[in-house]
Amino acid sequence: MFDNFPLWPVGASSHSFAVDALYLFLVVVSVATTLAIFAVVGLFAFKYRRRHGREAEPIEGNLILEIAWSAAPMGLFLIFFAWGAIIFFDARTPPQDSTEIYVVAKQWMWKLEHVEGQRELNELHVPVGKDIKLIMTSQDVIHSFYVPAFRLKQDVIPGRYTTMWFKATKPGTYHLFCAQYCGTMHSGMIGEVVVMEPAEYQTWLSGGVPSGSMAQNGQLLFTQLGCSTCHRFDVQGRGPNLTGVYGKPVLLEDGRTVIADENYVRESILIPTAKVVSGFKPVMPSFQGQVSEEQLTSLVEYVKSLSLSSSQATAASAGK
């Protein structure tokens, strides 16, 4: 009936219900406040409208009222703040065992790669009911990955990885938009998220012909680019042994400790001198401009795979 006047977007993620509930609460409070203010303004304007023989009464103010109408909004705002913060905290904290998918944005398309090696363009297939973590970067300007049905967005920034996660709750096809202005065809940088039943998803996943998992491609690159000559696994090379490094704290030459996450691995490939591991010399050359964003994500995925237990690693390299 309201084909041309939709009032509410479909909701399809574990997150969308939480956002809708808070949004509705805000709408109710705002409408009530607006009506109350309008009613009081209207009442005063009418009741005290200018008439003959009636003078305005001089009133300077009222301290108790001032305190009340400063404290009451502040109290209400604290509720909004806390409720919103809880949702945000949840939206920003991916569950430990999420399925990871890499996203590389460019003017004006979305390139997606599953760790199993499937690549997609402007389409993302995901299983329903599973936690999905997106690891995203851009190879040119800032974009923003936005799926209104999931009530989530995250800017995709060149030069680093940003992440977001979601759990789709309803099979279907949903719009994917770029929400950050990115040039001429900004409004054309749209795609679809296809949420499938798990079995259907497995069929889809095995249907493509990937040229190997991301970790396998990464391993190949690791050898081709000569990384393996210094980062050795048998004896101590000129660079640190990368086994078990990912996800762990790393002690740096300058005394700091950082967690070896995706951004750390990425930075160490592109700007190796930025964070040198304690006990090593800054001799690694930069690979800036020599590896594409896709190759970088494969290398990151390979380094990650070196930290999985051997059984997991076998499964991962076999394409699961």
Binding site: Y23, V41, R49, G61, F88, Q107, R160, H186, Q288
Partner: protein
């Protein structure tokens, strides 16, 4: 006969001198205010023209009226013209310039030649920006986000950036002038606690202009240098950080929102007591809330960046501070409302605009809370919800206040009355047209329509709301054109304005309309508090009306 001629030919700032030179080389703050009035009106209609292009393009889902690049330029230049060449100078440079010295009983601003220079700087910046428009324009969005603006846009980014950089100096000089004037030029007896709230608000605005504008100047220069010399500050491939730009940009551009809204609040704080015949309720709280807004306004900038990859904890801090800055705004709305309690309320045009302001600003403020709420912001960020919100504040709020103020002080500025019936009519058209234009955009935003979309043919279901919005914009255009027409008409045909047509208490009403060049025949000595309406009789003419 001869004496009658002398009285009608009484010297005032308008007829003191004639000729183009007497305007272009004037140091009279009132004449400079009029120079600003003419220039910002021109820019308002240029910005409005781009808005019209945007609304017409969005009438249909397909990108059919403009090309994508033209559309991107249209919303960029709409934003930049409206923000930097209309809203920021609007009330301060026109009404503030005209009224700040008069309200405190001074002959002029403290630095009259600096005041004229500020207008010339504005004009140079404006001409440069017009040249930028004429030679191809700019497509970065008004926000100049890097690395798009520094490494990818092929449009006239450098010229636009320099124009806005230059216009900033005009703003800094105006702010400086107000601060010095308010500190040094108050008439005997005009203590800080007797200052009209208009002055308090302009004082707060001036402080933001002084402290904030240099930051955007530096930021834009960095963009220009990055484009010309390839510095790499915002280039991630050389260790730069594109998000750093957003921090620098919003450090000014969020407080700039308060540069636009505080002067409008200043106007409302004058209109509401006058047309309620009452002191403003809670003078100290309204005055201090302006200062609080200016102060807290400087530490909320990263709420523009909740999804831009800032850390979880900084998002929490900035969300909390954003709620905090909403409190003084709420205090103002409650105090204006309470001012009418047991008053004698008239529904003259300025008061209708004030009602409109309170209504639209309330909605704009409350929807700002949605955006400060982290969990909701990740959905509505960068959508039409944001567009609707800031138009409610910056057009619904700032422009309503500006128009309300123009009507309120028009008799003083021009010496003529505008036609009251047309005034009320236009106030209502603006209010209704505004809501019809921007309310549907809240819904579009929650549906997920991203901002800056030229083409929505994959989402044809968005058309209905967009059609409503475009229809509203045409009403709004009429509502904005009308006052210009009857203001001009009144210059010749309007009734001669008395010195104090509203029976208002401010010092500016205790001199002739239009005022003499040096504002007062003799320096006033102030022995009363602001808004002593109980001791200010209504002029006969106004008493009879309603």
């Amino acid at each position: 006969m001869a004496s009658a001629v002398v009285t009608t030919e009484k010297k005032n700032y308008l007829n003191a001198e004639y000729g183009i030179r007497s305007w272009l080389f004037t140091t009279d703050h009132k004449r400079i205010a009029l120079l600003y009035l003419v220039s910002i009106t021109a820019f308002f209609f240029i910005g409005g023209f781009f808005a019209l292009l945007i609304r017409l393009e969005l009438l249909t889902p397909a990108g059919d009226l403009l090309t994508a690049d033209m559309y991107n330029k249209a919303f960029t230049m709409h934003g930049q013209v409206m923000v930097f060449f209309f809203l920021i100078p609007s009330i301060p440079a026109v009404l503030g310039n005209f009224l700040v010295p008069m309200m405190i009983g001074a002959k002029d601003l403290a630095l009259p030649r600096i005041n004229l220079i500020s207008w010339y700087i504005y004009i140079i910046a404006g001409i440069l920006y017009l040249h930028c428009i004429a030679t191809g324009g700019v497509d970065t969005g008004w926000t100049f986000y890097t690395p798009y603006s520094t490494m990818f846009s092929n449009t006239r980014v450098i010229e636009a950036g320099l124009a806005i950089f230059i216009s900033g100096f005009s703003s800094i000089l105006t702010g400086l002038n107000f601060v010095v004037t308010i500190h040094r030029m108050r008439a005997p007896g005009m203590t800080w606690s007797r200052l009209p709230l208009f002055i308090w608000s302009h004082y707060a605005t001036s402080i933001i202009m002084l402290l904030g504008t240099p930051v955007i100047a530096i930021t834009l220069i960095l963009v220009v240098l990055e484009r010309t010399l390839n510095l790499g500050i915002f280039d991630p491939t050389r260790g730069g950080d594109p998000v750093l730009f957003q921090h620098l940009f919003w450090f000014y551009s969020h407080p700039a929102v308060y540069i636009m809204i505080l002067p409008s609040m200043a106007v409302i704080s004058e209109i509401v007591p006058c047309f309620s015949r009452k002191r403003v309720f809670g003078y100290n709280f309204v005055a201090m809330s302006s200062i609080a807004i200016a102060a807290i306004g400087f530490i909320v900038w990263a709420h523009h960046m909740f999804v831009a990859g800032i850390s979880l904890y900084s998002a929490l801090v900035f969300s909390f501070l954003s709620f905090l800055v909403a409190v003084p705004s709420a205090i103002k709305v409650f105090n204006w409302t309470a001012t009418m309690y047991k008053g004698s309320v008239s529904f003259s045009t300025p008061m209708l605009y004030a009602f409109g302001f309170i209504g639209l600003f309330t909605i704009g403020g409350l929807t700002g809370l949605f955006l400060a709420t982290l969990g909701v912001d990740i959905h509505v960020h960068d959508t039409y919800f944001v567009i609707a919100h800031f138009h409610y504040v910056m057009v619904g709020g700032a422009v309503m206040g500006y128009l309300g103020g123009m009507h309120f002080w028009w008799p003083k500025i021009s010496g003529r009355m505008y036609p009251e019936g047309w005034g009320r009519f236009s106030a209502m058209i603006v209010f209704l047209g505004f809501n019809l234009t921007f309310f549907p955009q809240f819904i579009l935003g929650y549906l997920g329509m991203p901002r800056r979309y030229w083409d929505y043919s994959h989402m044809p279901e968005w058309q209905g709301l967009n059609v409503l919005s475009t229809a509203g914009a045409s009403f709004l255009a009429v509502g904005y054109l009308l006052p210009m027409v009857y203001f001009l008409w009144s210059l010749r045909y309007g009734k001669i304005a008395p010195d104090n047509p509203w029976g208002a208490t401010g010092l500016e009403w205790r001199t002739s309309s239009p005022p003499p060049t040096f504002n007062f025949e003799e320096t006033p000595i102030v022995t009363w508090e602001a808004y002593e309406y109980e001791s200010m009789p209504l002029p006969e003419e106004v008493t009879l009306e309603r």
